[in-house]
Each structure stands twice: as C-alpha cells, then as structure tokens.
C-alpha cells in the first residue's frame, strides 16, 4: 500500500531537566488532514514533547522528521520555518496590542525596519474574514475581547502564515460552549485544507469526538497509539490514569 509520508515524525525523543527525566524515547507521528489527540496526566510529558516540536525547548536526544526529512529545530523561528504553529490556551497574545499587531508579532511587515501598518491591517482583516471571524474593531486591544475571539485570532495567525502543522494546547479550555464549538468548526475547516493538528486536551469528550487518533503518555513514555474509535472513552481514561495499555480481545 502506498503509505503517505507523515507530516511529522518524532522518533525516540528524550528530555531531561538535570536529574529529572521528562521524556523517554517518546514517539509520535501525524499525517496531513489528521487530528491527533495527545493525552496524559499533568507531568506525563505531553507538553514537553509539544514544546520540543514548537522549538520552545530542545530535546536531549532523538530526532524529528518533517515530511520525511530530518529537521533541526532549535527555537520557535526554526519551527515556524517548517510550518509548525502553536496555539496556546491563553498565552499566545499580548493583551495590550490590537489584533493586527498580534497577528504579525515577530513577523511584522516592514520596509527598512519601518512598519507597514496599513498593509498589516488589511492583511489581518482578510485573514480574519477568511475564517469568518468577526471582530468589532481592528484597533481594539485584544484584552478587551472574549476568549473565543482571542483564540480565533491565534488560529487565523497560524493559518495566515501557512501552517502545515498546528499544535493546539487546550484550545477550548478557557472558552464557553458556544465559543468552543466555533473553534471546533474552525478545526474541521483546517483539516479539509490538509493541515495536521496535534490536540492536547484534558477534555476526554472533546478528544473522543474530534480526534482521529490518540497518543497516550504516562511518566514520559508512550502508552498507546491508536485510532480513537478503537477504544471507549472509559478505556482511554483508564490508560491515561494507569499508564498501562488496555488489551483488546477483538483487534480491529
């Protein structure tokens, strides 16, 4: 069978902070148009693994392949150059700045160091409307906006900069029901565009409904990688808690 090349393949990633072993031979892969749920307790190592992919931390050992080629990711800029964008629960925007400034933060459009404000505004308006995101005024500081609006800005930022791989760290945790639904709709949109999504979440219900596959970590090690629907929600929860894989009699 003609297996497609994974967007991301993380092989045998280990990470230790001094004496503390955060990850041991962690593996993960992600294919285009796929949502993979990354699960585990606090301290299971899932966040560390995601930070390594996003360039916020570097692995002690192991390798990362992007589209089948070994990638060297030392900092967030490297990760972005590979089309990896991260959407954090709360932290990704500066509340004191408006939407265009946040959208272009660190990648401002400029000519000889002078900001091209008008162009950034126009592109921001386009990027937001492409995802059907409505914001009262582009000049409003984002701290005045609702959680859902802020999350939408983060997502439109990722899309605008042509992300191929989006890491979502608890994307709906801070949101109300209605707003969560909007974010989930956005994610369906992204899938159809062939973007691969890594979804970190504690909400087993969301994970069960919106992910194609799951990767479960416990104590910095892989417990299980499987299609989400191969297990019940209870079985997944039990694997997250116990760290031992549930045996399936009838393998699918």
């Amino acid at each position: 069978m003609n297996q497609p090349v994974p967007l991301v393949e993380m092989r045998n990633i280990s990470k230790h902070f001094g004496g503390l072993q955060a990850l041991t031979d962690a593996c993960l892969d992600l294919y285009p148009g796929e949502v993979v749920g990354v699960l585990g307790h606090n301290g299971a190592g899932k966040s560390t693994l995601m930070k390594i992919l996003a360039g916020a931390q570097t692995a002690s050992s192991g390798e990362i392949l992007i589209n089948g080629d070994v990638a060297d990711i030392q900092d967030p800029n490297d990760a972005r150059a590979y089309g990896i964008e991260t959407i954090y629960q709360e932290l990704a925007l500066c509340g004191n700045l408006d939407a265009p400034s946040n959208l272009f933060m660190g990648r401002e459009l400029h000519k000889w160091g002078f900001l091209r404000k008008r162009e950034m505004r126009r592109e921001a308006a386009e990027a937001l409307s492409k995802l059907n995101i409505r914001i009262k005024s582009l000049e409003t500081d984002v701290e005045m906006m609702s959680g859902g609006q802020r999350q939408s800005i983060s997502i439109s930022r990722a899309v605008h900069f042509d992300a191929k791989i989006i890491i979502m760290d608890e994307p709906t945790a801070a949101l109300g029901m209605e707003e969560s639904k909007k974010v989930v709709d956005l994610i369906q949109d992204l899938k159809e565009h062939g973007i691969g999504i890594l979804w970190i979440s504690h909400d087993i219900h969301d994970v069960y409904n919106f992910t194609d596959r799951i990767v479960i970590f416990h104590g910095g090690k892989n417990v299980m990688t499987a299609r989400t629907k191969d297990f019940t929600q209870d079985e997944i929860v039990s694997m997250i808690i116990s760290g031992t894989p549930v045996k399936k009699e009838a393998a699918v």
Binding site: A54, A56, D75, P76, N77, R80, T86, Y88, L91, A92, L93, C94, G95, N96, L97, S101, M105, G106, R107, E108, H110, G113, F114, L115, S137, E139, E143, M144
Partner: protein, 314 residues
C-alpha cells in the same frame, strides 16, 4: 471610532489638558510666570530630566527600570571634563563621554539579559558603580569647562529658544518614531505586554532589551552634555537622585509601570508638569520643602488615576 473618540482616548490628550490648566493657574497666580525669561528658565530646567525620561520611558514600557541614569550622567560628564582638562579636543571629549554612557547602558542590558537579574538590582548596582567611578576618576574634584562648545550649549539661543530644548525635541522626535513606526518599537510594546508571548512568537527579547538599556545609557550621556554646558563644570556629585525625577515624569505622564502601555511623549509633559510645580512655587515664594510634598502627592495621584482608568477598561 469617531474623531472625538480618538482624541478622547489618545493618551496625550488628558495630560496636556492637566499641564495647560496648571500653566493657566500659575499665570493667574503670578504675572511673572508667563514672561519669556521665566519660560526660558523653565525649559532649561526641564531639559535634562526630559531627556532622561525619554530613555526611562522606553525601559519602563519593556517592564523594566533604569535607576542608574543619574550616575551614568555624572560619569559621562566627568569623562568629558577630565578629557578636556587633559587638552583633548572638546568634540572628541564629547564623543568619549557619549560612548561612556552608552557603554554603561550596554553593560546594564547585558547583565540583565545574560545574568537573568532583575533590572532594579542591576541598575541599582550600576548606580553605585558609575557614581563611584566618577569620583575615582576625578578624585572628587570638579573641572571647570570654559570651552565655547559647551558655553554655547548652556547659554545660547537658537530661534528664540535655549539650545537644550533642541536636544529635547530631537530626542523625543526620534524616540517617538522608533516606538511607533519601527519594528523595534512594536517589539518593545510586545515585550512589555507579555514577555513570554513575545519570546514564543519569535521576538529576540534579549537583543531588544539590550538595545533599550543601551539607548537609555546613551540618553543619560546626552543629558550630561547639556548638563556640562549649563554648569560650565563637571562636579562628580552632579545629578544625584535625578533618576527618581525621570521616573516620576514617566509615571505622571501616565505610562504604565507594569509595562506595555503608554506614550513616550507623555513623559515629556510629565517632566514639564514637575518643572512647572517647582518653578511656580518658587515664583510664589513657597518653601522648597513644600515642593517635595506636592510632587510626591502628584506622583501618587497620577498612578491612582491610571489604576482607575485600567479598572474602567476591564
């Protein structure tokens, strides 16, 4: 947003209104206040604090603080004086003085970013180091500077305004452009807003901070040039405690002490308000002891107002 709304929410509007009200009140209180002699005097008084406040604003907008500017000013002044009395050409001496201040600022920034030490502590250390070095170099002696270059800066006028005012205008013009029209300025606001986010979004936070502290050091040295001109001497004890005046100007202007918010130009108005209070009370013959009380009250009131504003925003 309507035009009126824009003006109403522009940070400069209210502080300018306060300054105008104060100027009006002083004019009413004393016919001497609005004479050209007094205004010139006021502008000269304000120039040094105003230049320092420009650098201080940038630092405070990143969420930091620079306590060393008064001492760095003194060290730069002393460098200039020491070189001139050693018969170095005054332009070269000035250049070396500017380089000295810039270096001090660079060292501040370097230690803050590399050593991960709080700006308060690093610049407090530099406050001692630079002042001490100024005393060591001179042995505590003040040099007299009678070079025409400095006498011109201190005493001449151009188009009716004292020369130091042009230093202030150029400084604020350049810093305003940097803060609002350059990528660098955008990064400064981002860092002050949420440093972690700035870092995650790929802004080179350490490099930008290093630049900000270096600029603050340079501006302290620029203020030293004006100071040497005004005093026609370089006492190593000059400008003691002036950093607090610069910080006060920034706060009165309404720049947020927690960073990320505020307009550098407001610090200039803040400095003017402080100078007007001092000057006005002098004219009215009120004891200088009361001036300190009043300025203290104004600082606290300014921050309280700022808090009320942000409470209204939430």
């Amino acid at each position: 947003m309507t035009m009126f709304e824009k003006i109403r929410t522009y940070p400069l509007t209210w502080i300018v209104v306060v300054a105008l009200v104060l100027a009006f009140a002083l004019t009413m209180a004393s016919p001497y206040f609005l004479t050209s002699g007094n205004i010139n005097n006021l502008l000269k008084q304000v120039s040094i604090v105003a230049i320092l406040a420009a650098g201080q604003s940038m630092v405070i907008i990143t969420g930091g603080i620079d306590l060393s500017v008064g001492s760095v000013l003194a060290l730069s002044a002393v460098t200039i004086g020491w070189l001139i009395q050693a018969d170095v050409h005054p332009l070269i001496a000035t250049f070396c003085g500017l380089a000295m201040g810039t270096l001090c600022g660079f060292i501040n920034g370097f230690i803050i970013t590399r050593g991960r030490i709080a700006p308060f502590i690093v610049t407090l250390g530099m406050l001692g180091i630079a002042r001490g070095m100024a005393l060591v170099i001179t042995g505590g002696v003040s040099y007299q500077i009678l070079e025409p270059l400095f006498l011109t800066i201190g005493n001449s006028k151009f188009l009716g305004l004292p020369i130091p005012i042009y230093f202030v205008i150029v400084t604020y013009f350049v810093i305003h452009i940097v803060m609002h029209y350059r990528v660098f300025g955008q990064h400064i606001y981002a860092i002050g807003g949420e440093e972690r986010v700035a870092r995650l979004q790929g802004i080179k936070v350490d490099r930008e901070k290093l630049k900000v502290y270096t600029i603050s050091g340079f501006l302290a040295a620029l203020a030293a040039v004006v100071m040497v001109g005004r005093l026609a001497a370089t006492p190593p004890s000059v400008a003691q405690g002036i950093e607090l005046q610069a910080i006060a100007a920034v706060i009165i202007g309404g720049i947020s002490f927690t960073g990320g918010r505020g307009l550098v130009l407001t610090a200039l108005v803040g400095a003017l308000i402080m100078a007007m209070i001092t000057n006005g009370l002098n004219i009215l013959g009120i004891s200088s002891f009361w001036q300190q009380v009043l300025i203290g009250v104004v600082i606290i009131a300014a921050v309280w107002l700022d808090n009320l504003k942000s409470a209204a925003r939430q």
